[in-house]
């Protein structure tokens, strides 16, 4: 049959699809009906993935920059160029070499890149983008429970009575998870949304609390306080399975209703009711964004602690569930794509783990923790980048100053303009590889067609680089790579390619639908909260609170979507309406400013300014504004000016003044 099964490559949901493959072309796509996650559904991106796979905008030959121009080269020449240049900076602890990995790469490709960085070039400077969102979630969950991943699962959404969605436009970011939540609500579960904007999932919810930007943690802390005050905590559960409750509950005592109402802009009665619904439900889950714009650790900590107090962790239909925006974000962390991590969230400072890696790889690993590219502050001289859409924009200054940049990827993008060497690799449909979705589900996407002439899959290319640099790796297939991953990664135990052949793959650890609280080696601890409950404040000078996020069809810089036809048209439809990008404000603020839809305005903050067009919508509350980042000028300039603020993720809120131009 010409329809070949596979896993969608866009978001962290991990939907099953069938690609219509004819010869060397992908001519269509169709959803997989029996897939355990997507059950026959796809979103706008998934329904048009074949257009991306058919684009002529692929990199088809290795390129080397000579006299300022990229010229065609052989793989051997390009690999030699890469290895020679990195060798210049190689030391026992190669602080000047960096690796920027991709959260779209397969587990195997990421694992090998990590191995290349650490064991061949002695560099621990390996990271994903600057986005801290998912790392924050994993840190909080790992510290508290020992499980660095979603504590519940998507397959149990239908078993939850109470579903809370916090600060995620989920029907846009992960539409099929949004669909599952909607179906659960239609069948009788109570669906509750807390968000700064009136999103689609808010409209589909039984209850919606439109919160003031930057104050999610206050709402979560207050809900936790309600559980304490009204004796709604699951006391038996707390005693049996947890530690640190007393200490945490003490920190809540100081919260008072007026302060909460002031900071969140909510009626505290509504928060009280939400807390009661949560406590009195039999099973409950919470979903929050964990991708490019995730929460800060404290907000995640409060969410976790709230659910722990209600006893809604480690039971059927329960869980604290960070939702990844990119298909293999979870898998990337599983593969140790972070300066301080080995695979399976093992720490680089964990001696026994290091010993295991040293033994398996026959090396002595450099154990000085590295730095991610956004923390490197100009130290990096050479950078290897894999398949990236975005970082070039955020870190353009640092990257353009580097002595050597290599780009490895399937599709052309802005990075190519800064690269000294460009190495093409096969697309995800052209090689075997596994991807770990947001619920820890490791799925095998099988090779469905041949790559363009002479183009290697990334796992082969990375092995070739390692070999050129003097290492001896022997992988006959990605299955071999997975076997090594499993050997070195306790939470991937039991995973193997022959088991992944079946539809839906297998969740780590051991197929678990959720955190197993009974067999946990230690008690679950309450998350530590580092900071206070201050919220960003508007002032007379900067009266509006500006929020940053993603709009439909627009992902990051959208390098991928721009290579399609239908999603590109959708992108352009908005771009043509708002060529300078848009800032969404409420009808009331528009009236006060004396502007109408598509009027140009200037947004001024204490750090910088930009021009954008107004989108008047009742999705945002008065005195708040929303910018979706998809226009180059906006991202490069304004966001660079606000880099530090934006590190705070979803709750990043900038007080601004908007003036008519």
């Amino acid at each position: 049959m010409n329809y070949k099964s596979g896993i969608c490559t866009f978001c962290g949901t991990g939907c099953g699809h069938l690609l219509d493959v004819r010869g060397d072309k992908v001519c269509g796509v169709f959803p997989m009906q029996n897939h355990p996650v997507s059950k026959g559904r796809l979103c706008v991106r998934g329904w048009n993935v074949h257009e991306l796979l058919s684009t002529a905008d692929k990199i088809t030959t290795p390129l080397i920059r000579k006299n300022g121009k990229l010229v065609e080269a052989s793989y051997d020449e390009a690999v030699a160029c890469l290895v020679d240049n990195l060798a210049k900076y190689k030391k026992d602890n190669s602080e000047e070499i960096g690796f920027l990995a991709s959260s779209r790469s397969s587990n195997e490709d990421n694992f090998l890149l990590m191995k290349l960085a650490r064991s061949v070039f002695n560099s621990n400077n390996i990271s994903l983008d600057s986005d801290p969102g998912h790392r924050n979630s994993l840190d909080v969950l790992n510290r508290a429970t020992g499980m660095p991943g979603m504590l519940g699962s998507l397959e149990e959404i239908s078993k939850a009575d109470f579903l809370l969605v916090v600060g995620i436009d989920i029907t846009k970011q992960n539409p099929i998870i949004g669909s599952e939540l909607h179906f659960a609500a239609m069948k009788g579960a109570r669906l509750m949304t807390i968000d700064t904007r009136n999103t689609q999932i808010a409209k589909l919810s039984n209850g919606f609390l439109q919160i003031r930007p930057g104050s999610y943690k206050v709402a979560m802390a207050y809900m936790a306080k309600v559980l304490v005050d009204e004796n709604l905590c699951d006391v038996d559960f707390l005693k049996r399975y947890t530690e640190g409750f007393e200490q945490f509950s003490k920190t809540l005592a100081a919260l008072n209703d007026d302060e909460v109402a002031g900071k969140t802009g909510l009626d505290v009665e509504q928060l009280k009711n939400a807390a009661r619904d949560l406590a009195l439900s039999k099973s409950a889950m919470v979903f929050f964004s964990s991708g490019i714009s995730g929460f800060d650790s404290d907000t995640i900590g409060y969410i976790f602690n709230l659910y722990l107090m209600a006893g809604k962790i480690g039971r059927e239909g329960c869980g604290v569930n960070p939702v990844t925006g990119i298909n293999n974000l979870q898998g990337s962390y599983d593969m140790g794509i972070a300066p301080d991590l080995l695979t399976g969230f093992q720490s680089l400072s964990d001696k026994s783990a290091i010993d295991r890696f040293n033994k398996e790889w026959g090396v002595k690993l450099n154990t000085h923790p590295g730095k991610s590219i956004c923390e490197s502050s100009g130290k990096l001289k050479a950078l290897v980048v894999v398949d990236h859409d975005e970082t070039i924009v955020r870190n353009v200054n640092e990257i353009s100053k580097m002595d050597f940049v290599a780009y490895i990827g399937s599709y052309k993008n802005d990075f190519v303009n800064y690269a000294h060497v460009v190495l093409p690799v096969a697309t995800y449909a052209e090689t075997d590889g596994t991807f770990t979705n947001t619920e820890r589900r490791v799925q095998l996407a099988k090779k469905k067609l041949e790559p363009a002439k002479n183009v290697l899959p990334a796992w082969q290319l990375i092995a070739k680089i390692a070999e050129k640099a003097g290492a001896k790796w022997n992988y006959a297939s990605p299955a071999d790579v997975m076997a090594e991953i499993v050997k070195l990664t306790p939470n991937y135990a039991g995973i193997a390619y022959d088991k992944l052949q079946a539809m839906g793959g297998m969740k780590w650890p051991n197929g678990a639908a959720r955190l197993n609280i009974e067999s946990a080696p230690r008690k679950v601890s309450f998350a530590e909260i580092a900071g206070g409950l201050s919220v960003p404040l508007a002032s007379e000078e900067y009266p509006l609170l500006l929020m940053i996020g993603e709009a439909q069809h627009y992902w990051h810089q959208n390098n991928l979507m721009k290579k399609t036809s239908i999603p590109l048209r959708e992108y352009n439809a908005t771009l043509l309406l708002y060529p300078k990008g848009y800032v969404a404000i409420s009808p009331q603020d528009a009236k006060d400013l004396n502007v109408r839809d598509r009027f140009t305005v200037k947004i001024v903050s204490p750090y910088g300014s930009m021009e954008a067009m107004v989108q008047v919508t009742d999705k945002v509350k008065p005195k708040t504004a929303y910018v979706a980042y998809f226009v180059d000028d906006m991202v490069t300039k304004f966001f660079l000016e606000h880099k530090d603020v934006l590190k705070r993720g979803e709750d990043a809120t900038i007080p601004v003044r908007i003036v008519k131009v």
């Binding site: 099964s5 099953g16 997989m32 009906q33 684009t55 846009k172 052949q501 239908i566 048209r569």
Partner: protein
Amino acid sequence: MYLIKKSQVMDIAKELQKEYELYGPVIDKETKQTMFVKADDAAEIDLNAPIPAIPPKHVLFPNYERIMSYKYDRQNKKVDIKPDFDEKPKALFGLRSCDLTGVLCMDRFFLGQEFADEVYKNHRKNMFIVSNTCIAPFKQCFCVCTDSGPAAQEGYDLNLTDLGDQYLVEAGSDKGKKLAEKMGLAKADDSHKKAKENAVDKSISLFDSIATDNKAWISRVMNRVTTGLIDEKVWEYIGNQCIECGACSFVCPSCTCFNITDPITAPDEADRMRTWDSCSYEGYSRMAGGHNPRKPVEDRRSKRFFCKLSYSQAKKYLRPGCVGCGRCQWVCPGDIGLPNVVTYIRREIQK
């Protein structure tokens, strides 16, 4: 009317494969999903397979297709345009009557109006269609409400009906008759015709107990959709559930909207690609000047159901655009497949 033994019914497919590319319902071994696809071997086709997830629409109107390529000769300032038509003879074997009705709707859209679509015409012109009567409905079926089943009325070359140990083979065209004669099929008589009528009656009677997913009593709803007398709140309720994925259009046997793009393939060369499009997308109805008459999602949704369920559109197709297959309900991330929308509207009428 002819007869063929059950054990020999696939001989028809094998016979067709001599002259045609053979398409039919194939159950994928790995995913257990039925797809209406090209069969390299007639034995892959399963006449008893459930209604295919993908309708045969893509055989005549592919998901993503090059329809021409062009090359500009700079020196001579000449453009060389090459149409890319696919006129290979194709046989659709084991089509369900809903899907055949979908093909007829497409015929009327692409061929039955002022302009005939050459690309479609080439796909369609050498086609042989063997339909298969549904002797029992599937869970999501409601073809009895849309007058498109359980047995095909027109448009087939041969129609098969399972009569137990043999199939009744009805010829709907000379082409069909010729094939039946060539294969030397036994003649059927009135008793077999009666047996088919009984089988169809029985199938209809089974809808109550088997086709439990969807009920779409569309006639009264058609009246409302045509006159527009539907409370805006109903459309809003429907629009709120639409995540704008386009799936309903893509799986619909009668949806025909497409978009055209011209990706550049070389410095002076480009292809013209035709790709499925959906009225659920915002950019779909945006006009060149920037105005969008159907910007809010609920307006786009109401448009789709107007297209499927209004008298004015029915004039175009000579029947309702909906063929009662129930696929849009399968793939919808909201709960607004056509049969559900009909239910929502009926609920409002009853109020």
